[in-house]
């Protein structure tokens, strides 16, 4: 895992990127929470990736999506597929994370009561993202936002 306190530049498409698609997430709107993850999962299924790869992508994508809905004003998910890896980049415009090391700890959460009542905000999200990614980069800047880059290896 790589942690950075400056918001990193968005990942660039390379000559090897065979597929790229972006999705928009509206902050604060739980009515559509999960819709991006569901779309990405269905794309990966159509492309016939293994169940294990799809499962990992679905978990990291869903947790990131819920974080944007819970804490940010808006966000973008970029799905990039190259011959060896699937990259899921989630960039949000929001308050940023004051202490990334603390936010990564299982059980730590700043979620309000409303979010917790729905069964979110248990302090498991970032921890799950790290556990189910083959590589994970997180950067955040206060007052600007947070960027996550999760890489899943196609050959598990």
């Amino acid at each position: 895992m790589v942690v950075s306190k400056k918001l990193a530049m968005p990942v660039q498409e390379t000559d090897h990127t065979a597929y790229k698609r972006s999705f928009y997430i509206e902050g604060g709107n739980f009515n559509y929470a999960g819709i991006v993850s569901t779309s990405i999962k269905s794309i990966l299924k159509q492309m016939d990736f293994s169940g294990d790869v799809i499962r990992k992508c679905a978990i990291v994508c869903y947790e990131s999506e819920i974080n944007v809905v819970s804490y940010a004003r808006k966000g973008v998910v970029n799905l990039m597929i190259d011959p060896d890896t699937i990259k899921i980049e989630v960039v949000d415009e929001g308050p940023g994370i004051p202490n990334i090391e603390q936010a990564m700890q299982q059980g730590y959460s700043t979620a309000d009561q409303k979010i917790r009542e729905m069964g979110f905000g248990a302090g498991m999200g970032l921890h799950n993202i790290k556990s189910y990614s083959d590589a994970f980069i997180i950067s955040s800047e206060l007052g600007k936002g947070t960027r996550l880059l999760m890489t899943i290896n196609i050959k598990q």
Partner: protein, 113 residues
């Protein structure tokens, strides 16, 4: 074992997607924390929960659960029902609490093996 058998044996009330009651049940997972269910449940599981809001449908759909059982006679919200019907995920209601319904389903699945 399919959902239909579990529904009959335990007297569950089916609220939507009855066309999917032939879904095979591979096991179960009990929990109200969505991240926990997301990380630890498996495809084909029956999910036992107290959460009634529409976000349960996204989790069940992403994890390809066989169905969702709401405990303590809790009813799904109208938008939960609409989404679950659209995704063809059966939602069933039990008047039992989580410990009891989980134990009964566990015993049913064990007996079958």
């Amino acid at each position: 074992m399919n959902l239909e058998t579990i529904v009959k044996e335990l007297g569950l009330e089916v609220r939507c997607a009855s066309e999917s009651l032939k879904n095979n049940v591979t096991g179960g997972y009990t929990g109200d924390l969505l991240s926990d269910v997301m990380a630890n449940s498996h495809e084909g599981n029956i999910w036992i929960t107290r959460q009634v809001h529409q976000n349960v449908v996204a989790v069940a759909s992403l994890k390809e659960h066989a169905g969702i059982i709401l405990i303590n006679s809790c009813e799904p919200t109208p938008d939960t029902l609409a989404k679950a019907s659209q995704e063809k995920i059966p939602i069933m209601v039990s008047n039992l609490h989580a410990f009891e319904i989980t134990g009964k389903i566990y015993n049913l699945l064990e007996k079958k093996d």
